[in-house]
Amino acid sequence: MNKEFLHLKHDWWLPAFMLFGGALELLMIGWATSRPITNLPLMIWDMDKTPASRNLVISIENTGTFELVEPATSMDMIKNQMDRGKINAAVIIPQGFAGEISASAGNPILQVILNGAESTPAREAQRAIEGVVWALGEKITIEKLGVNAEQFEGFDFSLRVWFNEALNEAYFTTPAELALMLEFTILIFAALTFSREREFGTLEQLLVMPFTSLEIIIGKSIPVILVGLFDFSIMLGVVHFAFHVPVRGSLPLIFGLAFIYTLVELGKGMAISVFSRSQHQSFLLVLMVGMVDFMFTGYAAPVESMPQIIQTLAKFIPAHHWLEILRGIILKGSTIMDILPNVLWLVILGTIIGFFSLRYIRKALD
């Protein structure tokens, strides 16, 4: 075991990167991505140029979602910019718009073109514009009907957000990123444990030493576990202090479960390291395995929306449960009872994976 630490000293880059790199990444990525979608370039072609149309433009601007670019003067201009991906949407206000609005049987038309090449901003743009247009529509109707505006409170309903009252994006993205970073950190580190020896064919040298294979495994595991947990603590700190995500659940519970999860991924990683013949191979395998897990964690899209088969498969992926646990404890303050199913799954999966990994590794070593 001491030998492993000696190795680490030589290779001190690796744990240093993993430790601080992980936290740094989290910081950087979290900071960049935990923002709502804003400043989407929008091009407006106002063919009406009346106070009404200008008001519409101002209302759109006030949503904060857009950044208005040079106004359009032709369809070609819109097409040109859209093709190049320079704008996310265009709004075309036809001539006579104001007229149609004030006319009693008028039919005001508004055209919106979305840049489908980036569907997420497109949806956001759609949502924002629809909101503005509907509000405007209501206002027009009220005025037309001479209905008492005060009485008509509009179509808003009250919205309460739980666990994430400010709808702070960071609440959503950072725990997921935290879970992912921990997984990758441990996997990479674990996958490299035996890879060097495999690559240089020095595995025999390791085995000649007076340790049992179990001792070797434990010896290699300990630095990984330590680094993993330390990394996790740092990253948790980053999430909490830098992104102001509250940690509502019990800390000991988080760390306890983090430890279990670390063991699970450790088992996977070490199995990979014994299976591959070189560090290069290990890494590529980790990449693929990591991506598979990523798919099932529901990071970007909720698992519930995936086809049933995939949802079932997701239950067998430890990372999936880990993310649920993490989110639950951090954001919802879940107690162990609340997340019991996930914990049980994790423990069971962990035991099975751990058992088979251990057997596989021991067989490979012996």
Binding site: N39, R84, A105, I113, A117, L284, S305
Partner: protein
């Protein structure tokens, strides 16, 4: 620069890759496999979001409303709850993502045009689904209220078609149904084609670890020859993926391909050159493969994923991140792939990005050569 030397290194690298079956397959296959996996993972249309209902009104109108809400595939009624405590419990346990609470005055308020007496509670830990629920409940509520109120107003003699006079015509170009896969695949292409960069970062460190570096440095080979010679085989590996992926994109994910394949190929080569030389810069500093791996993973993977405008629009990024994204080859390539696949623009429009990529490639290669000393110490 001697082509002989360059070719000797390229040949040696290729021989090495080919003769290590496992690694060869992995290097070749990883980009495409990961692309497929990730597309499935991320391009998910949200539907069947579980919600719960709490109807305090219990009127014909509220029941009608409830029917409307649950009519489609988007919202799934998990249960009709009996109390707030039940809802709270369900939210905490993650069984529902949102809850709709219909106040006791719902029908009364609506008919007297006082508004919608509704409350929506969402699970803020998943703004995606929560927001989705809000939007969809909102839409349906709007339509419902609109219908009720307009018929109401018509009944009292006013000529009202609907409360929404403005005809909003929305079209989405290039991806009319706003299917996420369609814009995801070209974007992911930019990410996965960066994978050979990891291998490139390793290759110098491997010579150090396997002790062949000293002998190599003693020969008259120049730095550029060595570095380029090591990058080229991986550009080829990347290119093989470039040839295969559009096929999957079109066949499996129905991603259109409107541009010219030749232009796409050419620009992909340039991108690979830029991206892989970025990996090389990292590789020049590291003496051990594991360190090279770790660093290249951190530098290439995550920024390449998040800062290149694929998942988060660059416009929404903070200033600093936007500047950084400018220097990532992935950003330029994402624009290129989107253009070639979806919008069908050609070299006449894309040439500035090509130039930028060439520039980045030269800068990275130059930097790598600068820092790579043909000295052991």
């Amino acid at each position: 620069m001697s082509i002989r030397h360059l070719w000797a290194v390229v040949r040696k690298e290729i021989q090495h890759i080919l003769r290590d079956r496992g690694t060869f397959i992995l290097v070749l296959v990883t980009p495409t496999v990961v692309l497929l996996l990730m597309t499935y993972a991320l391009a998910v249309d949200i539907e069947h979001v579980s919600i719960a209902l709490l109807d305090y009104d219990q009127s014909p109108m509220s029941r009608q409303f409830i029917q409307r809400i649950t009519a489609g595939d988007d919202l799934d009624l998990y249960t009709a709850a009996g109390s707030m405590e039940e809802i709270e419990d369900l939210l905490v346990k993650g069984k529902i993502k949102a809850a709709l609470i219909i106040d006791p005055d719902f029908s009364a308020d609506l008919l007297s045009m006082r508004g919608l007496a509704l409350q929506v509670v969402i699970d803020g830990t998943e703004p995606e689904t929560g927001g989705f629920a809000v939007d969809h409940i909102g839409w349906r509520a709007e339509i419902f209220a609109n219908q009720i109120l307009s018929s109401q107003l018509r009944a009292s003699g006013l000529a009202v078609e609907s409360l929404q006079p403005i005809d909003l015509r929305i079209r989405a170009w290039y991806n009319p149904s706003l299917v996420p896969q369609v814009d995801l695949v070209p974007g992911l292409l930019s990410v996965v084609l960066g994978f050979p960069a990891f291998s490139v970062a390793l290759t110098l460190a491997r010579e150090h670890e396997h002790r062949t570096m000293e002998q190599l440095l003693a020969t008259p080979i120049t730095r550029i020859e060595l570095l380029l010679g090591k990058i080229i085989p991986y550009i080829l590996a990347g290119l093989l993926n470039v040839l295969v992926i559009p096929f999957f994109a079109m066949a499996w994910f129905n991603v259109p391909f409107h541009g010219s394949f030749l232009v796409f190929l050419l620009l992909s080569v340039i991108f690979l050159f830029a991206e892989l030389s970025m990996g090389m810069v990292i590789g020049v500093f590291m003496r051990s493969q594991s360190a090279a791996l770790a660093l290249s993973f951190l530098v290439v993977m995550f920024p390449g994923f998040f800062l290149t405008g694929i998942f988060f629009p660059i416009a929404s990024l903070p200033e600093l991140a936007r500047m950084e994204s400018l220097f990532l080859p992935g950003t330029q390539y994402a624009i290129i792939t989107r253009g070639v696949f979806l919008t069908g623009i050609g070299l006449d429009v894309l040439w500035p990005y090509a130039i930028m990529l060439i520039f980045l490639g030269l800068v990275f290669t130059g930097t790598a050569a600068l820092f790579f000393r043909k000295k052991l110490a």
